[in-house]
């Protein structure tokens, strides 16, 4: 089953006005490994023609990327005021 389809089963209240994770493109450009792409369980990090793309909307707030990124690019915070993932089962 495709990851996007699986993520589609999970409930979110997306905060459209605040990205709780940001990446620094200038750092990502020079990253030797892009380990975030392999590590993130929610496919928030993808490579397109060698360039890193990031989206926070599917994030399940596990924190994996905050450790996976050892280049200092990922700035990681919790979403605000109950926004983000809301597990029905957990």
């Amino acid at each position: 089953m495709d990851i996007k389809e699986r993520l589609g089963k999970t409930k979110y209240d997306i905060d459209k006005s605040y990205a709780h994770i940001t990446v620094d493109d200038r750092i990502c450009e020079k990253c030797p490994h892009h380990f975030c792409v392999m590590a993130c369980p929610a496919q928030c990090y993808t490579l397109q023609d060698g360039k890193l793309n990031f989206q926070y909307e599917d994030c399940v707030e596990c924190g994996t990327c905050s450790i996976a990124c050892d280049q200092g690019s990922v700035k990681w915070n919790f979403p605000k005021a109950g926004k983000g993932v809301i597990y029905k089962y957990g």
Binding site: A39, C62, Y87
Partner: protein, 430 residues
Amino acid sequence: MMSDYDAIVVGAGNAGSAAAITMASKGLSVLLIDRSDPPGTKNLSGGVLWGNDLAKILPKWQSEAPLERFIQDKKIGFLTEKSSIIIDFKTKIFEENKVGHTVLRSKFDPWLAKKAKEAGATVIPGITVESLVKKDGKVIGVEESGDVVTSNVVILAEGINPRLAIEAGLRPPLQDWEVSVGVKEIIKLSPQKIEDRFNLSSTSGLASEYIMGNLGELNAGAFFYTNKDSISLGIVAPMERLRENGVIHTYDIIEQFKEHPSIAPLIDGGTVAEYGAHMIPEGGLEMVPQLFGDGYMIVGDSAGFGFSNGLVLQGMNYAFLSGILAGEAAVEAKSRNDFSSSSLSAYKRKLDNSYVLKDLRTFKDIRKVTNNKSMYTTYPKMLESILLEMLWERGQPKKKVREILGSCAADLNVGKLKTATDFYYMYRRM
């Protein structure tokens, strides 16, 4: 200056709510803040709860808590590409005690937070605390959007992402060796199918844990638990190994587990109802930070309290107990009206005398076992080869076990000395 509360607890997971219940039931004024609404609905676990410690604060938990199934059948084993080698431990003793249960945290945690409210705590959901407030080196409260709430003590129950503790310099940022990545799915399956398929009653359940010998040197494990009308399944992979062997997406590892020939039939006809992920503290004693200081204590996942030996994975029980002990320390500090570091050091002494720190000390070298790549590569295959030689009639002359072992070791290119030392160290450390 009077504080707004005796205690502020950040995080309504098992550790935070247990601390809040312990303190509120002894008359302390307690504020329990959680970033999700309802409280606890951002929390995720594999799903087996051992409730011995919960019984200390909520004696009727077994009848009142939203539990799924009690664990009657516990399986542990190895998966190779084509085989599964399982020990199936089914015992009347589990049925008579009913201490282990599968739970779904989005049902269980709101219930536990409700119990904190009933005990007298003020519970505020949907607020993400932005920072700790310090004065003269002492933690005196929390801040969100410029609003400050003060307390004599702050209990940090933030979970595996301890942002406040890190930002306040109370613990260093987490590193690869301290965590594993857990990826989980809920598969809907009717109670009838679950009970027929796994030979269970309407209340009994199954909890299986596997070493994945089909994923090379990822050192990944997997779990499979039955709920009332769903299956909780997932994988756990150490960050260190993921980085070293980083050619597979974490979201594909769980698919490989689901597609394994011995797992796929178990979820046949089921539908995915939820996908999630959560990190797991696996650094053992070495990752435990300074647990208390002037005006604060750290509990649960934030403190690194978890136990894993490759086949057993526990954290919720450590969360309950550390939360309770921090709560007790706060109650004693209140009676002395002293929330200084030396007064709160009672928390550490209580932990020292409990299984929380005793286990972490006893198994301080366990990572040398769980880090051993042979446990996940060579030995599952060796076991499979031995069983094939012994149990599969192929119209060929039979061999003695000694010869089987010798030829398997030769096939897999492992030395006798390496194997002997591996098993000696496992024996010493497990």
